[in-house]
């Protein structure tokens, strides 16, 4: 007797996605400070104060560095 076998259906594996590292609040604040010093030569707190004063006309398009620090500003803020 011949037994017909079905080829195993190859299950399509989902691609492995890149891993994400999650930063603690302290790590995020420290990194924000590092980025601010690298890009604008000031601390993260100093940039936030300057932004709130209107030094950059409240315009994230003021420069690429300002845009980066504006988008990342939640990293530099205190959270409850």
């Amino acid at each position: 007797m011949v037994r017909a076998t079905q080829p195993k259906t190859k299950r399509r594996r989902e691609p492995r996605l890149p891993k994400v590292e999650f930063l603690s609040l302290e790590e995020a604040r420290a990194l924000y400070d590092e980025i601010a010093r690298r890009e604008l030569g000031m601390s993260g707190d100093e940039f936030i104060a300057a932004w709130n004063r209107g030094d950059y006309n409240f315009d994230p398009d003021y420069s690429e560095a300002v845009c980066q620090l504006w988008i990342l500003m939640p990293m530099g803020l205190e959270r409850e």
Binding site: V20, F22, E34, P60, D61, C67, Q68, L72, P74, M75
Partner: protein, 159 residues
């Protein structure tokens, strides 16, 4: 390396950034380029949805900037930073490097919302950047499945 700052609902948004905010050198391509990538995101709850689909990620702002490796001059800067006194629509800034007319530098050219899969496809398929993975198209398609309908007026949603 992708870094993110939060994975729970919060009154303040969270941030996602590539290479800890430093430029990433891209391999291959028409030009030797670097990429900056940052996003701001929040978590939105849909109480009527099932437990599995109750929370979704909403992109609240983004900046993707492509620059020349040697000179650091910007080629394209895709921005979306809605706010009270700011340009609300997603837009691209053509860098001075590629403009012959300096008067156009800094202008806000409107675009639709740009998702990370769109950006990656542009870099690889259009600019010839060499992907690290041979299955990049599947990876991008898989990531794209997480993005739902984008709403420009409010926030961009990633389901």
């Amino acid at each position: 390396m992708v870094s993110a700052t939060g994975h729970r609902p919060s009154p303040l948004p969270w941030d996602l950034l590539l290479n800890r905010g430093a430029a990433v050198n891209l391999r291959g391509g028409l030009l030797r380029t670097t990429l900056h990538l940052e996003q701001r995101y929040t978590f939105a709850e849909d109480p009527a949805a099932s437990a599995r689909e109750r929370w979704r990620v909403e992109i609240a702002a983004y900046r993707y900037t492509l620059s020349e490796q040697e000179t650091k001059r910007e080629l394209f800067a895709f921005h979306w930073h809605p706010g009270e006194e700011q340009i609300a629509m997603p837009h691209v800034h053509p860098g001075s490097r590629i403009l012959s007319e300096q008067a156009l530098a800094g202008r806000h050219v409107p675009t639709g919302p740009i998702a990370v899969p769109d950006l990656l496809r542009f870099l690889i398929a259009e600019l010839g950047v060499r992907p690290e993975r041979a299955d990049w198209q599947r990876v991008i398609a898989r990531i794209g499945e997480f993005y739902g309908a984008w709403q420009v007026a409010g926030t961009c949603e990633a389901s």
